[in-house]
Symmetry: C2
Subunit: 484 residues, 2 copies
């Protein structure tokens, strides 16, 4: 076999073109074969289909004797055939498999999670990042990508901190890593003084805050009740009064369960009164900043010491597209790190930018590139219109639920999430409806506990092409599933 072509260099695009055509054809075929938002049959059927496909790779050549020195040679598996099937066969077979077996967020009946349907624009931009493969751990692997990241992260951080002294943002693998970095920065800031920071969060806080505390060796966060879905201010005041030592309050702007936004200004006031630091997880709600009419919902955001964003939710980016913003890049200093081969002192003094302190990763894909292309193509107005569109869709879905006597609405939506359930259904019934629709390949809905402690169906609306009729059909599917 001749040496396979590379994606980069002047010849890369010509090598990519037929391969990309193959991928696009297979994406279409897989999606067309699926019909619904996900394949029917549930995990058993999908797993069997995947294993059959992998096993059907052309039969391997007769096994060689195991070479000496590394024990037994591994058994032949379909996943790694001895002899390859070739570029187009592999792309066609596995892309069809992936597309057929997707829970496709571009299907209007796929609305379980903060699982965005990416813009074609952003997916196309991401191809350039993959082809050139800049790695943001040193300037000499990513000259333009590093400069672009610097400008675009600064611009995004300035959205959160319009009056910050020197706004900056780190690019992360998602909200989870951004929250982790926020806790790490707090740990280091206080750890230098020999103190251990205690995290305080609401009952609706994302699980990643708890996991980050565990990862970083910090005490388990103290949880404050959130009876109506947002952090209770009286309870927070009491908790902060009862704790000693450095405190980090994490508030949420758009909870995963209901999309509710904590009262940021009031929380910031309490943090000031108690000398606590504030982190805001705006992984979901952050892009409200782009909406002229909804920007006010984030009032107080700029009083946080750190803010989590996640543009693979309301930013319509393919994974990953997380950010942690700070009002002053000096706050990022605890991440400074040296490795002689990447940022030796004499190279830094000679003017080569030092990138290692911008992530805990070393090799790092330029996820900022697709974001930069999207921001430029759509502008603040275009992005804001998308945000408004899906929030309006949520209001419309809530209207529809309210008009159907056999359905019950949890509350008017705060963002783009709607919780509803068949009137009178118990938790077991709600969970079963969700799984039935999944297994039948008809709809992908989520689940969440409501303010009443009961289980609700959750529709997280992120698809700006969804129509009112699509929403009605989702409700029809739920009602149909209930009556069987």
């Amino acid at each position: 076999m001749s040496t396979p072509s590379l994606a980069g260099g002047p010849a890369g695009p010509d090598a990519l073109r037929p391969l990309v055509d193959t991928v696009l054809d297979a994406l279409h075929e897989g999606a067309a074969a699926r019909v619904g938002p996900l394949p029917p049959g549930g995990p058993a059927a999908v797993t069997a289909h995947v294993r059959r496909t992998l096993a059907a790779a052309p039969a391997p050549a007769p096994a060689h004797a195991a070479p000496a020195g590394h024990g037994t040679a591994p058994p032949e598996t379909g996943a790694i055939p001895r002899t390859g099937t070739g570029e187009h066969e592999a792309l066609t077979t596995l892309t069809r498999l992936l597309a057929y077996g997707a829970a496709d967020p571009a299907h209007p009946h796929c609305a379980a999670h903060l699982h965005t349907p990416p813009l074609a624009l952003a997916a196309a931009a991401d191809l350039a990042a993959a082809a050139l493969n800049p790695s943001l751990d040193s300037w000499d692997q990513a000259p333009a990508a590093a400069a672009l990241e610097e400008s675009v992260t600064r611009a995004l951080a300035t959205e959160a901190y319009p009056t910050g002294p020197d706004p900056d943002a780190l690019v992360t693998t998602g909200g989870t890593e951004a929250n982790q970095l926020a806790l790490l920065l707090a740990r280091e800031r206080h750890g230098r003084l020999g103190a251990t920071v205690q995290t305080v969060c609401g009952a609706g806080t994302h699980h990643s805050v708890h996991r980050a505390a565990w990862l970083l060796g910090l005490p388990e966060p103290v949880t404050v009740p959130a009876p109506d879905g947002t952090l209770d201010l009286t309870a927070l005041d009491a908790v902060l009064s009862g704790l000693r030592g450095p405190l980090l309050v994490t508030a949420t702007a758009g909870t995963t369960d209901t999309g509710r936004i904590d009262p940021l200004t009031e929380i910031a006031d309490l943090c000031d009164a108690h000398g606590a630091d504030l982190h805001v997880d705006a992984a979901y709600g952050g892009p409200l900043l782009f909406s002229e009419t909804r920007r006010h919902l984030l009032a107080g955001l700029d009083r946080a010491r750190t803010v989590t964003f996640d543009l693979h939710k309301l930013g319509w980016q393919p994974l990953a597209a997380g950010l942690l913003a700070v009002p002053d890049r000096a706050l990022l200093q605890p991440l400074a790190h040296t490795a002689d081969y990447l940022n030796a002192d004499d190279d830094t003094e000679a003017g080569l930018p030092d990138l290692l302190g911008r992530s805990l990763r070393t090799s790092r894909r330029p996820d900022i590139f697709k974001i930069a292309v999207t921001l430029r193509a759509l502008g603040r107005t275009g992005l804001g219109a998308l945000v408004d569109r899906v929030c309006d869709l949520a209001q419309h879905l809530a209207d529809l639920v309210e008009k159907r006597p056999r359905l019950e609405l949890h509350e008017r939506p705060a963002l783009s999430t709607v919780l509803f359930r068949p009137a009178g259904a118990d938790d077991t019934g709600v969970a079963a409806i969700r799984r039935t629709l999944l297994t039948e390949g008809r709809a992908v809905l989520g689940r969440a506990r409501g303010a009443d402690g009961r289980l609700w169906l959750k529709a997280t609306l992120l698809n700006p092409h969804t129509t009112p009729d699509d929403l009605a059909q989702i409700l029809n599917l739920v009602e149909g599933s209930t009556t069987r």
Copy 2:
């Protein structure tokens, strides 16, 4: 402006096709304009070019009054214009910028780092992942992707652990995260018994091991000398004898500086004798397993409790493509984690796969997809041929250096890294040559300390299309730079 198209669904491919064409055209134009492996002028020139390009976005519409509620509106920046420039303008302008301003690993004179030129095949496959956007934190966001990951990670882990009881691997953002997970698993295993694990590593160990210990709140690793570039066994024995409590030895199969491989079998014997656990960082050398003729270099690998792989090095994948392999998936149990909206107990009992314990991330891109396509297309034989090709190129470069009296070779290459320098140059001179070639846009070479403690130029050969003539030209550039 109409709502921008999505990448998914049956209509996605038709939306993607013209946008991808625009990207491929711009990639070609940018690469053709660059000429060399990176643009000339150094960081100042590249940064100025990026800022000019961003600032040249069409002028924004007259500023609106700042909406109430969030303080001052952010200033207009080129990075986020008020009104977008449109999909094709943004893709063309920024892709050209990225390509022109790349340090393109597909250029044969770009050989500084473990910064691979991706296969066109793998970059094309990654487009499917971006378009469909499966997220591997729950089955209902990634039905086929989850099943594919399960099969392919098991197959890859079986390459490392052919006789392991139940081999498995976690997909990571790179070797850094894989090393971090290895230390975390060790921390948790011993932490349950109330003990703190002490990491012991060689002087050539990747910096990420030290950073992981810091992140996880573990003691700073004890460093064992590596006078010839590999971990010294006598010194390791002495260090292990002098320490109390649980120990984790991290060995390296392919150091970043020289590509040397630690004596794994002997280290495993010492670990057994002292009751220490063994982790092997095979981020660089791991794919030697695919080479019939070089597989033996990793003898002893399967005695490690955890092994780091990184297929965005010798696997020719675009970022990210890291893995942490274990011989028994039961060893991953400390990562088990629950979030009611993703893996509620009743959903898990009803047969929905629980994915949260397979990563510390929550949302997670299916990086396994491009890997799966590459493994199927090339097979073990095809990948092994690529590994052999770049290792052979390194031997050839070493031959060329030895034949040139004005150059000095550090040692015969162990893998695909060659350290050399102009005879008689001091450290300052070596560093200056590297920076001169970078600033002139002629070559991207790395730097490393040799066994003698002096600074050497480093050529890391990962491009299988590089020719002997390309290698001679690299040496000509270095010699030419020396004489000026």
